[in-house]
Symmetry: C2
Subunit: 351 residues, 2 copies
């Protein structure tokens, strides 16, 4: 390759607001980040959009695709029937090393299936997991929760692998020295929980390469005590969607209650900029998307309802994952001996 600049393939056709919002987010990323964008989709539409908006960024290349996997389709069937669908073409760009990452707001099941089929799994990882980064109560501190939807029925060893991938991400992308791993559960004691939780607890406790901090209850997720929280994709998905929706609930309570009475109206008017900031802190668009861990390439799965700002943030997230060599580190971690792993992550057993 002539250039060593990071190249990100963006699925322009996936998502409720595709293609225009996706294109808009990608153009902003091309302008503000030091990266190249490969916009995968209906070439004619993308070109006319760029012309209409008087844009001709040099670091945006259009890669034509045909068709898109819709939300109603069964992923595997659709991917096979539409080999040139945008998500397939985007994954192929990574496979062919023409791109370093894929960002898609389309059918998340299809994105995951396409990644598995075209990029394959990282050696040593049985199941890919979707990891979502959530803000915590501690300023500037985030927690990565995985899996939030890839695997509804899990085995303990999958959750152990999620713990390792989360640890790598937390350490190298989020700069946490010794990431503290929690197991999502219904009580603090090791004997608490369902069968999966109890058996996973044993595995995590015995794994010297991660800093296992014990069970994390629902109330602990956003506290900031843990850097990585593992769970099966059923619980994780319900939790994530609940968390996303509750921001909306809170904003609505504010909208209803704050402006009541004359003082309320004056006060609310004075607080407008501060309320705007609150909205941003609660808004999932700010977080961009979730990472698909365990496949052999960087894949960011954005929310189906993503608009341009989410896509911009998702592309930035992809770029950070590439810069910090997340895939290489997970791969090399899995090829090391247990002793080397301990050294590599410099995780002590003290808590």
């Amino acid at each position: 390759m002539a250039s060593t600049r990071v190249k990100i393939a963006v699925d322009a056709m996936g998502g409720d607001n595709a293609p225009n919002e996706i294109i808009a987010g990608a153009i902003r990323a091309a302008a503000e980040l030091d990266i190249d964008i490969l916009l995968v989709g209906d070439a004619q539409h993308i070109e006319s959009y760029l012309q209409q908006h008087h844009q001709s960024p040099k670091n945006v290349e259009i890669v034509p695709s045909e068709g898109v996997v819709s939300m109603e389709e069964e992923p595997l069937v659709a991917l096979r029937r539409k080999p040139k669908a945008s998500i397939n073409v985007a994954m192929d760009l990574v496979k062919q090393k023409r791109a370093d990452a894929v960002v898609s707001a389309g059918h998340s099941g299809a994105a995951m299936a396409a990644a598995l089929l075209r990029l394959g799994r990282i050696k040593g990882i049985d199941r890919p997991a979707i990891g979502a980064v959530l803000p915590t109560l501690l300023a500037g501190k985030s927690v990565i929760v995985l899996d939030v939807g890839a695997n509804v029925d899990c085995k303990p060893k999958y959750l152990e692998q999620f713990a390792i991938m989360g640890t790598v991400y937390s350490k190298f992308v989020m700069d946490v020295d010794i990431p503290k791993v929690g197991l999502l559960n219904i009580g603090e004691e090791p004997t608490k929980g369902n069968d999966l939780a109890i058996r996973t607890h044993e595995l995590l406790e015995a794994n010297q390469a991660i800093a296992f901090g014990g069970n994390a209850e629902g109330r602990d997720v956003l506290k900031g005590d843990f850097d990585v929280i593992v769970c099966d994709g059923f619980v994780g998905n319900i939790l994530l969607k609940f968390a996303e929706a509750i921001g909306e609930v809170m904003l609505q309570i504010l909208r209803e209650e704050l402006p009541q009475g004359i003082n309320g109206q004056i006060g609310t008017a004075l607080l407008k900029p501060n309320l705007q900031r609150i909205k941003q802190r609660m808004d999932h668009a700010e977080h961009g998307g979730a990472l698909l861990f365990g496949v052999d390439g960087v894949c960011i799965i954005s929310h189906g309802s993503s608009q341009a700002p989410s896509i911009f943030n998702a592309i930035r997230l992809a770029s950070e994952a590439i810069d910090h060599q997340v895939i290489e580190r997970i791969r090399s971690y899995n090829q090391q001996s247990s002793f080397e792993k301990t050294e590599k992550l410099s995780v002590s057993n003290e808590s």
Copy 2:
């Protein structure tokens, strides 16, 4: 019994703030509600508290107990070792028909075990479930979620029984004409979810006595679309604890962001009463406690951190459940034929 007034046994010794906050909440309930209170606990302490506070309500009776099951104890062992522990004595009052309900903020596992051992299950119910009532986005509309912690590993038929108990509660206590039941799941389609969810979906769909509205995703829980949401106690407990904590998170964001800048300080001062109302809407103390469904008596399990207002609300909740004959209705429902059930709940198959 001489009187037909509702009598509620309150476990004065259970909870982080026992006994004083519990006593205070119970006295308020005795003053404001048309009920009798049996305060179960250390008689000497309760008497001296009443004297100190110049209280001698006629509708409060002290029932002495010895010891309490602490949070660290294994419930079954502790209940056997301490037959006169407050939770045991309170349950016995219901068994002996000296009280109509129990309210406890103590060890929830112990409360459940004591209820099962002393009151037994309602015929036709395999497992008791803890039901939590949450507010929704629709003004004045609540949703009951069960199970939120009694059963970590469930079978489909347990969830079907939870759906029936939730329907009875929603219809007769919350006055919902045709309660719409949702199955907590990760997608709308019947084929989505883990093994438990898929098999439960079939059962609920086939049950003519409930108005099954399909799967409810995490984002749907607080929307107000559903009146009853069923799930296993593992997922439900994590969701409930997350929901309780997120109110705190939101309040902290408000505290941090609202008073910033001079306008922020003035605006926040003007909004003080409105913010107080917001705090109340987000505060779990307002909801009082969770109901233990499926045991043969009304049991309210309050939050361990309950203070007087929570206890007051929990007692009111117990009184409502008694007034609306929840236990009798679940019991009689389970003794009816399938046809009668359909009639009784007047649930149509249309959606």
